[in-house]
């Protein structure tokens, strides 16, 4: 598999990152994550897979600055991430985060208006993002009039218009059916190629990770640590058709080898081990 290797410059970095949630009254603290080390290279597409509750979303939120790490350091473009989401990071969540009281167009324009962009620039960027996401004909519709996949595209468009350099996707297709997920995957790949942004995708779907990513981090059961980093070696110009390639099966097979035992642990199959 010949890879178009991404720029080797480190874009974001987690060093020895641990996250422990303090226990509520009478309960033990929950060690959710780490220690985790990760170097995200500029312009790469990195996916994180792992069993339910292993701390994947916690990792994303710590990297975004949405929650603090208990130990370790997080940097984005060489600067520490602490307290707030740094400029240049965009996040798309699993839940429908569209604003039901705004039209698709106004949803997409939300961040730009907040940041004081002039009307012409807002119009240019929003029209462009909606056209890119295939939402041009729905600009005046309200989110509730759209399907789940289209609403998620609205949220991506709202992120896209701010031209983030690091896009964090927290299981954005988790609530969608398999076919829509494949198509959405194609759209995310187009978006990634066009923007040149670094993308970190959190997903529980091994096929999704294998199809979209340059590298995939397989995480252990809680507390989540990286067990393996799989380099896919896909060319930058790729789409969902690669699911029929033999290498695709090899990648998902290797991921499953890593995760089977961990998934059993997370589901409480005590004493069982993966063969």
């Amino acid at each position: 598999m010949a890879a178009d290797s991404p720029d080797q410059q480190i874009h974001a970095q987690l060093s020895g990152v641990t996250r422990i949630y303090p226990g509520a009254a009478g309960t033990k603290p929950v060690h959710a994550l780490g220690p985790v080390d990760l170097d995200l290279k500029r312009g790469e597409f990195f996916a994180v897979v792992g069993p339910s509750g292993c701390g994947k979303s916690t990792l994303l939120e710590v990297l975004a600055g949405l929650q603090p790490s208990t130990a370790g350091t997080v940097t984005f473009e060489g600067r520490p991430v602490a307290g707030e989401v740094p400029d240049g990071i965009g996040v798309v969540f699993q839940e429908d985060a569209s604003f039901p009281w705004l039209t698709v167009w106004d949803n997409a324009a939300f961040g730009l208006r907040r940041n004081g962009f002039d009307d012409a620039e807002v119009r240019r960027r929003v029209d462009d993002a909606l056209a890119f996401m295939g939402l041009k004909d729905f600009a005046r519709a309200y989110p509730a009039q759209l399907s789940g996949g289209m609403r998620q595209r609205v949220c991506i468009a709202r992120t896209l218009v701010l031209q983030p350099r690091l896009i964090l996707l927290d299981e954005p297709f988790g609530a969608l059916d398999a076919q829509t997920r494949l198509l959405m995957g194609d759209e995310v790949l187009r978006l990634w190629r066009r923007t040149g942004a670094t993308v970190l995708l959190i997903t529980h779907a091994l096929d999704e990770a294998a199809m979209l990513s340059d590298r995939i981090g397989a995480m252990s059961a809680r507390p989540g640590r990286f067990l393996d980093i799989v380099v896919t070696g896909w060319p930058r110009e790729r789409d969902s058709k690669i699911v029929s390639e033999a290498a695709f099966g090899e990648i998902t097979g290797r991921l499953w080898d890593n995760l089977r035992g961990e998934s059993m642990k997370s589901l409480g199959y005590a004493g069982m081990t993966a063969p």
């Binding site: 975004a64 990071i89 429908d96 985060a97 604003f99 039901p100 907040r114």
Partner: protein, 252 residues
């Protein structure tokens, strides 16, 4: 108008027509109920004579004041209680059982404190309506998706900006339900208080007309209240419907 709207209108016309026929044919004693056309005629005559205009203005002014106070204070109190989970836990049973208490028993206390002014009536209206707004506010705030708070942080929005630009619009449908309930309860609280003890207002006019066997005035004022309450509720319903359609919830 939609098909459902036509059916609704037909139901009203048939009911009013039936009452008219029953009164005119003597099936219903005219000393008990006068025909709807006579009610309308009596109302028209009273309105053009201006005999009760000051009472009408007073009552609607009091209802408006009760609505405004209930909405503003109920919302503020709801927000404050929502921010203090332990206080809320302590108060929840009171909210749940509030309407089981006959609030009107406190009217004499209000008169002792505020005298025979409009204030006791306003406060009775508020006492009847405010808890509906508090409960609606708590419901609305409970139902704000948690992801919106994360979105706000991604957009580096402050507390006030998050509250005004994300949380308030997200909670708006529940808040509006509260407003609709407040309007209904305020009407009930004010008219009932006037009816029982107040020296003035539409409730008093209806009570006096009832005591004097003045059916024309009594039914005229009752018709006015029914029309006013229906029109206000229809307007609120239309507004609610238009917002619901925007949000894709559609017509019921």
């Amino acid at each position: 108008m939609s098909k459902v709207g036509w059916i609704r209108l037909a139901v009203v016309i048939v009911a009013v027509g039936l009452l008219e026929v029953c009164c005119r044919t003597g099936l219903i004693n005219r000393k008990v109920v006068i025909p709807p056309t006579e009610m309308a005629d009596a109302l028209w005559q009273l309105l053009i004579s201006g005999q009760f205009n000051d009472q009408i203005a007073r009552t609607f002014g009091i209802v408006l004041a009760a609505i405004a106070i209930s909405v503003v204070a109920g919302f503020a109190f709801g927000v404050a209680v929502h921010a203090m989970p332990r206080v809320r836990q302590a108060l929840d049973p009171f909210f749940a059982t509030y309407y089981a208490v006959p609030i009107f028993i406190f009217y004499p206390v209000m008169i002792v404190i505020f005298g025979l002014s409009a204030w006791p009536i306003v406060l009775m209206g508020v006492a009847t309506a405010i808890v509906a707004m508090v409960i609606a506010t708590l419901n609305g705030l409970d139902r704000i998706p948690r992801v919106l708070t994360k979105v706000a942080r991604v957009h580096r929005m402050g507390t006030v900006s998050t509250a005004l630009r994300l949380k308030l619009p997200a909670a708006a449908p529940h808040l509006f339900t509260g407003v609709k309930l407040v309007v209904s309860y305020a009407f009930i609280g004010v008219i009932a208080s006037e009816f029982i003890l107040a020296p003035a207002g539409l409730g008093r006019v209806i009570a006096d007309a009832y005591s004097d066997f003045n059916n024309r005035s009594m039914y005229a004022m009752m018709l006015l209240l029914i029309i006013a309450a229906t029109v206000v509720n229809m307007l609120l319903h239309m507004l609610d419907q238009s917002w619901a359609e925007r949000r894709g919830i559609g017509k019921p």
